[in-house]
């Protein structure tokens, strides 16, 4: 069970977390006609928001216990991982209807147009890259007993 | 929408009218989603078709999504999504009718009415439809409208027939007469049943002489009801003295449908054929009163031309062994009393009193009975698997969706002896522990539906269905479902879907219905004939039953022997009888001196066997080896005027239209296969075309989801195997040796013509000219190549040529 601790007060707004997330979810693309292929960074699942008082708030999925997104999905495409506790998108089942993103009260889920796929924080399957690269400790990962 | 130019308020009035009528039906049926098909049937009957608006009302009323209602209503042929005419004229395109010229009848009807099949005349008077099989095969070609059945219809008479129909059909009111409620005792124990039987037997032995009038669909079409009414009138009129001891009884099908109406006088067992209303007085005065036979009404043996007095001596009957059909033609199917008097429900009573469910299953297994629906799965084993399945309630389903064109044994059996089927079903229910049963009968069989409906309600009133049957601990009741007109519903999983109110699309097996069937309950699905056989087995004992037949196929089998045979009708023979005996002895061979060419066995999924294979016994395995199947037991005799390529095309076309459309090979493959066969019949195929046909047929057979698709290619593969030369003749010589394929056949009068004029009269387009007693000639430019001339010529005076041969002959004459 992985838990990410978020401390907005410590966030400096450097956005290293976004970059790390993007690369942690990058895909190697095969060479396609008219392109070179190569690495395609993913849409960051963590976003640093700037509030009206110019404070920085790293926003990412809370992995809610009673998650609205799971209730919204009609195709069984959202499942909680028993290992990490993260709510994961089963992309094969997902029909891109977008109801999960619409249901999420926090805006922590969205469509990655280029693939296309619904994306959200999956705790990097157990090793959150954002926490690893956060220089201030605003994002810290911790392993909890189940 | 005012596309019809009608003022808006009248459309509103129409809508509210529809709403009221639909609402009445919904209230009568109850608002449950399982009622969907029944409700749609009622609405279709009520409005004549199903406007989208009515579907919306049904969807709202039953709480079913409109999309599902639409899906169901467009799947079944019995529903119409277009308005229809005041009279619906149906031409039977079953195989038996087809080989006897139903295509020509349809063409003539299209010409006469100026509309295609499925369309309605501009005045809204008539809708023309073709149907797969009306089960009146021995009378083919057949046209029906309402309750009027016109049999043996020739293309030339179509115009007149249509006019008759337009003028109105008084016979419509006839049906079966009003519901006659007979006093039935309530049977609370086996003893009750026995004492009732003794009583009724006492009564039944009353009459000195009985006239049994066959009132099956075939004889009805020929006017049997009028005959029976006339007989009753004459008995009544013959004075009180002599009337004592005389009785007329309408029975179910006697089997010899071709010769109807049939009247049997007992106890002499004198059989009269082709009886007319006007014969009634003589029958009453001479035969019934004095026991004198009337020679002109006796049936002549097809081969010796000798008139035969007693029916069991006719070769048609003498070669048969009537076990399952024992009661057919002897009892009144509408009377439970009659059935009980003949020993009915004795088997059930004994089963309930003395046997355990396992014991019944064991007995059926020992009898060697195999499913009569076609596949031949051992019935005992099926019951055992269902009895052992996990789950509480069990269900038994009687499959009466006899869809094979050219087969009508189930229809006939239900019409003649519905209680024997019901009794078998109750016994089956006891064996597997079922408390509910369903009887599914296709909507094309109104009489069978009526007889079975009556049998069920009488059995219920007498306590043979319901709680504590005959005082035992068994509770069992059945409900009936009218089929929607989809061949594929004969497939068991599709049939279950249909009862559940869904489109009849098969689902993959396993799980087999014995584990998960109707509404997911363990379910046994047995064919009509199988269930009737169960009753007989428990009456006569497994050992006696197993003594009949061959090593692996036990008992008897009912066949509908139709097509180009002298005697056509329903016959029951022991398993193992050779096909040749069936065709030549029972069927009396091919008429008009033509040559027997092939026999098609097993319906659309069966195969065509050539003359050389006819010594094979009827036996599940022996038929399979030759590329045919037992199927439900249709035997269609074909002579040299039947084109095997055209037969293959016919069956493929049939199955293409009946494909449910779920899996690709069957849905789209059959379409392509039919197109390719058409190119052969049109003379446009190349030599490689036959390989393509064969390959496609193989792919469909291997890849399809259900049995319909997997066996759909049997007619193609078996004709390719046994009649390849005929295919090659089409492809290479541009010739149809049977003179059937229009684009290829050219007819020419040869030197054997003696100018009798028969062909000239038969020609529907007056293309034949010539003085009587001098050679005739065919005008090629007006000839429509229907072959009517060929069919009437006794002398072989007409040659079938290929187009090229004809052109060459013309050149010769010119030079």
């Amino acid at each position: 069970m992985i838990r990410l601790h978020v401390s907005p007060k410590l966030c400096s707004g450097c956005r290293s977390c976004e970059m790390a997330c993007s690369y942690a979810h990058a895909e190697v693309e095969a060479r396609v006609a008219g392109g070179l292929g190569g690495l395609r960074p993913g849409l960051p699942r963590v976003r640093v928001s700037v509030t009206g008082t110019r404070a920085f708030v790293p926003m990412l999925c809370f992995q809610c216990d009673e998650a609205r997104c799971i209730g919204a999905c009609k195709y069984g495409a959202l499942e909680r991982s028993l290992r990490t506790g993260a709510i994961e998108v089963n992309e094969e089942r997902c029909t891109l209807c977008g109801l999960c993103a619409a249901a999420c009260p926090f805006g922590n889920m969205e469509l990655e147009h280029s693939r296309p796929a619904m994306v959200k924080c999956d705790l990097c399957r157990g090793e959150p890259a954002c926490a690893k690269f956060c220089p201030t400790g605003a994002l810290r990962g911790a392993s909890l007993p189940r | 929408m005012t596309a019809m130019g009608a003022p808006v308020d009248s459309i509103d009035a129409m809508s509210s009218d529809i709403a009221k009528r639909v609402d009445r039906i919904l209230q009568k049926r109850g608002a449950q989603s399982g009622q969907l098909i029944h409700v749609l049937q009622d609405v279709n009957d009520e409005l004549g078709w199903l406007p989208l608006e009515s579907l919306r009302l049904v969807a709202d009323g039953l709480g079913v999504p409109l999309s599902r209602v639409a899906s169901v209503s467009t799947f079944y042929k019995a529903f119409s999504t277009r308005p229809r005419g005041r009279r619906i004229v149906r031409v039977c395109m079953g195989t038996a009718c087809y080989v006897r010229g139903a295509r020509e009848v349809t063409e003539e009807a299209t010409r006469e009415l100026g509309i295609q099949s499925g369309e309605t005349t501009a005045d809204g008077e008539m809708t023309l439809e073709t149907v797969n099989c009306l089960g009146a095969c021995a009378l083919g070609p057949v046209m029906v409208s309402g309750s009027v059945v016109i049999g043996h219809l020739e293309a030339g008479a179509v115009g007149k027939a249509l006019e008759e129909l337009k003028r109105g059909n008084q016979e419509g009111a006839r049906a079966l007469g009003g519901e006659c409620v007979e006093q039935l005792p309530e049977l609370k124990s086996p003893e009750d049943l026995q004492s009732w039987r003794n009583q009724t037997r006492g009564r039944a032995s009353g009459p000195v002489r009985q006239a049994l009038v066959c009132a099956g669909t075939g004889c009805r079409a020929a006017g049997a009801v009028k005959v029976s009414e006339a007989l009753a009138r004459w008995i009544e009129a013959s004075g009180s003295e002599s009337r004592i001891g005389l009785e007329v009884k309408e029975t179910g099908c006697h089997g010899f449908c071709e010769k109807g109406p049939l009247v049997v006088v007992r106890p002499e067992e004198t059989l009269y054929v082709g009886v007319k209303e006007s014969d009634a007085s003589e029958i009453v005065e001479r035969t019934l009163a004095r026991g004198e036979p009337i020679s002109r009404l006796l049936c002549a043996d097809a081969s010796s031309r000798r008139r035969v007095l007693r029916w069991p001596e006719l070769p048609f009957y003498a070669e048969q062994r009537r076990v399952v059909l024992r009661n057919a033609g002897r009892i009144d199917p509408a009377s439970l009393t009659d059935y009980v008097a003949s020993g009915g429900y004795d088997a059930l009573s004994r089963v309930l009193r003395t046997m355990s469910p396992e014991g019944v299953i064991e007995e059926i297994a020992r009898s060697g009975l195999r499913g009569r629906g076609g596949a031949g799965y051992p019935t005992g084993l099926k019951w055992k698997r269902c009895a052992e399945a996990v789950g509480g309630n069990r269900v038994i389903v009687c499959n009466g969706d006899e869809g094979d064109p050219g087969a009508y044994m189930d229809r006939s059996l239900i019409e003649a002896d519905p209680h024997s089927v019901l009794e078998g079903m109750i016994i089956g229910a006891y064996a597997i522990g079922a408390t509910t049963g369903h009887i599914y009968i296709r909507h094309e069989y109104p009489l069978a539906l009526e007889q079975m409906g009556r049998a069920v309600s009488e059995a219920r009133r007498a306590g043979l269905l319901g709680r504590a049957i005959l005082g035992s601990r068994m509770d069992f009741d059945v409900s009936m479902t009218r089929g929607g007109g989809a061949f594929v519903c004969g497939e068991e999983t599709a049939l279950l879907a249909s009862i559940e109110g869904k489109p009849g699309r098969p689902r993959p097996r396993p799980p087999y219905p014995t584990e998960r069937g109707l509404f997911d309950l363990p379910t046994v699905i047995n064919n009509v004939e199988t269930l009737a056989s169960v009753t007989r087995i428990l009456e006569m004992g497994a050992a006696a039953y197993a003594a009949i037949g061959t090593e692996r196929s036990k008992g008897t089998k009912i066949f509908s022997l139709v097509g180009k045979a002298r005697n056509t009708g329903l016959v029951e023979v022991p398993m193992g009888t050779s096909i040749r005996d069936l065709v030549e002895k029972v069927g009396g061979g091919v008429p008009r001196g033509r040559k027997l060419k092939a026999v098609q066995i097993g319906g659309p999924s069966g195969g065509c066997l050539p003359e050389s294979e006819l010594d094979r016994p009827v036996d599940y395995e022996a038929l399979g080896e030759a590329g045919a199947i037992m199927g439900s037991g249709g035997i269609i005799v074909m002579d040299d005027r039947t084109c095997m390529v055209d037969v293959a095309r016919y069956f493929t076309d049939f199955l293409e239209k009946e494909s449910c459309g779920k899996c690709t090979p069957c849905r789209d493959g059959l379409r392509e296969l039919r197109e390719n066969l058409e190119t052969v019949t049109l003379g446009r195929a190349t030599a490689g075309g036959l390989d393509e046909i064969e390959e496609m047929a193989r792919a469909i057979g291997l890849g399809s989801l259900c049995g319909l698709g997997r066996t759909a290619v049997n007619p193609v593969l078996s004709t390719l195997r046994h009649f390849r030369a005929e295919y090659l003749s089409h492809v290479e010589d541009g010739k149809c040796p049977a003179g059937v394929c229009r684009e290829l056949a050219r007819f020419r009068v040869n030197e054997r013509c003696n100018g009798c004029g028969l062909c000239r009269e038969a020609c529907p387009v007056n293309a034949i000219s010539g003085e009587t007693r001098s050679p005739h000639a065919i005008a090629q430019e007006s000839c429509v190549r229907c072959g009517a001339c060929l069919d009437v010529c006794h002398r072989g005076g007409i040659d079938i040529l290929s187009r090229r041969e004809l052109e060459e002959a013309a050149m010769e004459v010119a030079s």
């Binding site: 920085f56 209807c97 | 792919a699």
Partner: protein
Amino acid sequence: MIELRLDGELVLASEGERLLDVARRVGRRIPTLCDHPAVEPEGACRLCVVEVRDRAEGPGRVVPSCLERVQPGLDVRTVTQEVKLVRQTVVRLLLRRAPESAALRSLAEEVGGKSSEAVREPTEPAEINWGKSSGAVWASEENAGGAGCVLCGICTRLCAAAGYDAISIQGRGAEARVSGPGGEPPEACTGCGVCARACPTGHILLAESGGVRRIWGRRFEMIRCGGCGEATLPRELAELESRRLGVTLVELTHCPTCKRRSSAEKFGELPARRTREGLSESGPMKGVAR
């Protein structure tokens, strides 16, 4: 665990696993068309057929691997003459329905064999653009009318799974059509667009521009995000789902970016609190009660 033989190799599978999944797991390519992980398999297209034998010597049966489950000792062959014949025939027949489908063209290459003469140059399936305006053109009298329907039933099954039941297969045999009841634009359609996105041949067209989505012959007003004005969900869909989920229409139709911005305002202002590890933490991490 169940042991079976796949193309001669022994493989292990878990109880109830489909042959298709086992074969793919061990790296076999098996073509499919009507299989969709979100709905029950139907065995309709017959592309995924394999040959199985219950005993090594027994007769082979050609079965769809999407439906057939593993059994101990089963002998499965993914490529045999019979399997090839069925697959090639199926692709050829489907290409007659949708000659321009890129998906079918690549399946045809994969299974080999004779390709249909009727095949034209491939085009990409109609582009579906979620939430953005798209160039796809609505051009149909028959409601869908794109590249050709292969009757795989994915759209109707998904529509039923969503609980809308707007479209269904109507008629039977080769004449069967997917459409709204009676061939009319489906009244129960919410414009969710799932059918169009899942259609393997791109037959179902969805077009969106100027805040209007068009599909199945119907027009759906798109509700715009209360924050930024971006089109989010069709009104019918949003209203239905707002009732089902008990979420206000306004919340449901705010775009993720705007929702994130407003929730960040709230979390940014929350006082720091102690946690087990002694770090400060913000936000209602333990569950969000509705």
